[in-house]
């Protein structure tokens, strides 16, 4: 279809959908209202299980199977990206070419911020049941923190700190831990992904039962998963070339 016809078709469809949205939104409960049924159930449930961060309780305790599905999507995407960005038959991987020049100041800032980011990331992961954060958020901080090495000019250093075969194993380990905790829930408490470890004291580091365990598993998986995905993209750009090219 020509661009004009396509636009016309979309305007007709999108316009009607906009009308449907408008009619539906006008019947929605108003923004900022005080009645929230699910919240009134979820907050006391979280407190009963000694979890100070209610969102973590919802994610890893009350609706844990959703999070299980979500981290499955993550590892499936890592595998999918690795499969899609594999060097094709007519391509090979070459040695990393000489890097360009970066300012000394940039490199210094990168090296200084790297341990700071990693520590903050670990903190966010481990305290998921107490403070805003958790496995997903902390894993993302860890992964992007590691890539400060690349951003501040040193791809070979990043490459050394990032053994991809080990990362595959770590990724699988994170997902397996989640599934294993879930199946242990069947064995111990009769239900998949039930919170069957002792709850501890509300507000202490060791509280909320399985929530911190699952947080760490997910944190590990997200960290290595994001690093693996970025590694594939970086390789496509930096090291994969058609056979016969000098690059």
């Amino acid at each position: 279809m020509s661009r004009r016809v396509r636009l016309l078709v979309f305007l007709v469809g999108g316009g009607a959908v906009a009308v449907m949205f408008a009619l539906a939104f006008l019947s929605m409960p108003h923004f900022g209202r005080p009645e929230h049924l699910y919240r009134d159930l979820a907050v006391p449930a979280a407190v009963r299980h000694a979890t100070a961060n209610v969102v973590s309780s919802v994610n890893f305790d009350q609706r844990a199977i959703d999070t299980f599905g979500e981290e499955t999507i993550l590892i499936a995407s890592v595998v999918g990206t690795a499969a899609l960005l594999r060097p094709a038959k007519e391509e090979t991987e070459r040695r990393v070419p000489d890097t360009g020049r970066t300012l000394g100041a940039t490199r210094l800032v990168g090296y200084l911020l790297l341990p700071v980011s990693l520590v903050i990331g670990l903190d966010v992961v481990v305290h998921g049941q107490l403070t805003p954060g958790g496995g997903f958020q902390g894993g993302a901080v860890l992964a992007t923190g590691l890539h400060l090495l690349y951003v501040s000019g040193s791809y070979p250093a990043l490459d050394r700190l990032r053994p991809l075969e080990l990362f595959d194993i770590a990724d699988a380990l994170g997902a397996t831990t989640f599934a294993a905790v879930g199946l242990a829930g069947i064995a111990i408490a009769g239900s998949f992904l039930s919170n069957m470890v002792s709850f501890g004291t509300f507000g202490a580091l060791f509280s909320a039962g399985t929530v911190p365990i699952l947080n760490v598993a997910v944190g590990l998986e997200v960290f290595v998963g994001i690093v693996a995905i970025l590694a594939k993209f970086l390789e496509q750009d930096i090291t994969v070339v058609k056979e016969g090219d000098d690059g």
Partner: protein, 115 residues
Amino acid sequence: MNVYAYFVAGWLLIAGGYGIVRSRHMVHAIVSLAVSQSGTYVLLLAVGYQHNVTAPVFGSTEKPTKQVVDPVVQAMTLTDIVVSATVTALLLALAVQVNKRQGTVNPDDLAALEG
């Protein structure tokens, strides 16, 4: 306004769709898809909001109480963000390969699948 937030969400969804329809570059189309998805984030968070209450995280200064915003929509949005990031990664990987095979990422010029 009572329902303004929802209209913002609806607008983002449709604007993202418009972006894909008019796109001349696959990466632009994929990012427009992400714009559509951010409409869903806005919708979910707006649904769970309550005026004049605090975040659903308790500690030494915040005693457990029911006067917090809805934590479930926040959990749903977290799931949604992870889904978005991973799907975007997959689609971008596909776009990289399309560029390598066909030399272009303009949807108007991609010609392998007509009929």
